[in-house]
């Protein structure tokens, strides 16, 4: 009897999760500091959703409900996780099929820099920026997912954007060559004798 109930619950969850799986698992990665951490966050969110599926009364609100679960777990993880290195944040294997090698290398570097910039934001600001600026959710949708008012989301966006701008101003100003540079390489200049100092 219990096994049957559990099976039905899994089936119901998979049916609801299917249409949003790609977006939600991608968002989990973008909220995290690495692909592995994001995948782990997503798995935990799915498990939590399964355990609390009986709380979901209106299936049309599943997307918002699931993202709210994901954000809740994201915040609790942020509170207890120490900073991790971003060196292996994203899969660094060869470029995907059909992708230009140098373009992919640049995308990896840019992704690293964006992740570093987002990492300087408070978790709720990072969520607001990722959901609104990258995932394209409306402010109202983000407010429902974060469980706050629309004005609170707007305030988080303003602060988050300010911090991102400050980060980029600092990074680009200190870069030897304007534009893209690797964060991990400190700016160096040649001494008159040709030595690196």
């Amino acid at each position: 009897m219990d096994a049957r109930v559990n099976e039905d619950r899994w089936e119901r969850l998979l049916r609801l999760l299917g249409p949003i799986h790609e977006q939600a698992s991608g968002t989990a990665r973008r909220l995290s500091r690495s692909a592995d951490e994001g995948d782990d966050l997503y798995q935990e969110s799915v498990l939590r959703a399964y355990e609390r599926l009986h709380d979901l009364r209106d299936e049309s609100k599943f997307r918002s409900w699931f993202f709210a679960t994901l954000l809740s777990i994201h915040r609790s993880r942020r509170r207890r996780r120490a900073t991790v290195s971003l060196e292996e944040a994203w899969p660094k294997g060869g470029e995907p099929a059909g992708e230009d090698g140098s373009a992919w290398a640049e995308a990896l570097e840019r992704a690293d820099r964006a992740a570093r910039a987002l990492d300087g934001l408070a978790p709720v600001q990072r969520e607001a920026v990722v959901l609104h600026e990258i995932e394209g959710f409306s402010v109202e949708e983000v407010a429902a997912m974060q469980g706050v008012t629309i004005s609170a989301v707007k305030s988080r966006l303003v602060r988050g954007r300010d911090k991102l701008r400050t980060f980029y101003e600092r990074v680009l100003k200190s870069a030897r060559i304007p534009g893209l540079r690797r964060e991990t390489e400190p700016a160096r200049e040649l001494a008159p004798g040709g030595e690196i100092r």
Partner: protein
């Protein structure tokens, strides 16, 4: 990117982040397989416990306030199970001595019965003695009242009733103590004396403080409560104890007196605690702990017995003022008074 002020670099970087992080996303089937594996691991009892403990430790690290609360709870929990031994006042011993021509041996049994009935003691023991050739009978009983005044009132009424029958009697009341071993929390509870000042005159408050301290094992406290001319109240509690080489093992520490008004502890005001500690060589160290409106300071004066009143006054006042308390100290005949300067 919805931010119109975003730089091209920021736009490009966020787009790259989406592109890179979307690569090789596990499909739903892979996710479900991984979740099944995780659930199997968590279902193992040892791993489950380990995970829970680790999760609790991580939560504590992340939330210092929660950790402090948990530590306090743990301390109370420890206090509830760790036993300590101490003396506790559980009632009062009443002794009534009857002597003289008005009392004859055949009155012993009915008097004992009446005493038991009127005072409510568990049993009455009678001790016979000879006093300069005359018989004297001492009736002993123990009353459950922890209040000395209440025990004395009951016994006094009985003595008065005897007097009305022509039997002369004298009365003695002493705290009945039991050595108990109980959890530290219970001990701490016994040692905190809460007294409400609501609607009590200075004299009523004075006698209540004295009585409650006696019940807590401090029968010799000198208590004084005076109403100030310009409002306020001065409460002084003087207890003298002499310890050589530190407190002897098993000695009961002083109870803490907490005065309340409208159900809440009275804060602010000034308190002064003076300790004189004499070592085995006879040298006395004087410790004056003063608190004034939440600010506390301690003056420690070694070899205070060699100092004059004026020297002592200057030494205490200097130390307390250096610690930030604006006070005036008076020492007369070794008696120290510390008053805040408004």
């Amino acid at each position: 990117m919805n931010d119109p002020n975003a730089t091209d670099d920021l736009r490009a970087d966020l787009a790259a982040l989406k592109k890179v992080s979307d690569r090789d996303l596990p499909d739903l089937k892979q996710v479900m397989n991984e979740i099944s594996r995780r659930r199997a691991v968590e279902a193992a009892p040892i791993m489950g416990w380990r995970r829970r403990i680790m999760a609790a430790v991580q939560t504590m690290k992340a939330r210092p306030a929660l950790a402090a609360l948990a530590a306090a709870v743990a301390l109370i929990a420890v206090g509830m199970v760790v036993p300590v031994s101490y003396d506790r006042v559980t009632g009062h011993d009443v002794s009534i001595s009857l002597a003289g021509a008005g009392f004859t041996p055949d009155q012993i049994a009915p008097t004992a019965k009446e005493m038991k009935a009127r005072l409510g003691g568990e049993s009455v023991q009678v001790e016979a003695a000879e006093d300069n050739g005359a018989a004297r009978f001492v009736f002993h009983t123990t009353l459950p009242e922890r209040s000395r005044a209440e025990a004395a009132r009951k016994a006094g009424a009985f003595v008065k009733a005897l007097a009305e029958k022509g039997i002369a009697a004298s009365l003695a009341v002493a705290p009945h103590k039991e050595h108990v071993t109980s959890p530290a929390v219970a001990y701490a509870w016994n040692q905190i004396i809460q007294i409400s000042v609501d609607g009590k005159s200075a004299s009523a408050l004075e006698s209540e403080i004295k009585q409650r301290l006696a019940e807590a094992g401090v029968p010799d406290a000198q208590v004084s409560v005076k109403d100030g001319a310009t409002g306020g109240r001065e409460i002084s509690v003087n207890v003298q104890r002499q310890n050589f080489g530190g407190a002897p093992a098993g000695q009961q520490p002083e109870p803490e007196l907490v005065l309340t008004k409208n159900g809440a502890p009275i804060t602010g005001g000034s308190t002064v605690k003076i300790r004189k500690m004499k070592d085995q060589t006879g040298a006395t160290s004087l410790v004056v702990e003063t608190s004034d409106h939440g600010k506390t300071a301690t003056a420690t004066i070694p070899s205070s017995e060699t100092m004059s009143d004026a020297q002592l006054q200057t030494a205490i006042e200097t130390q307390l003022r250096e610690a930030g308390l604006n006070v005036r100290v008076e020492v007369v005949g070794g008696q120290i008074k510390v008053r805040p300067v408004d």
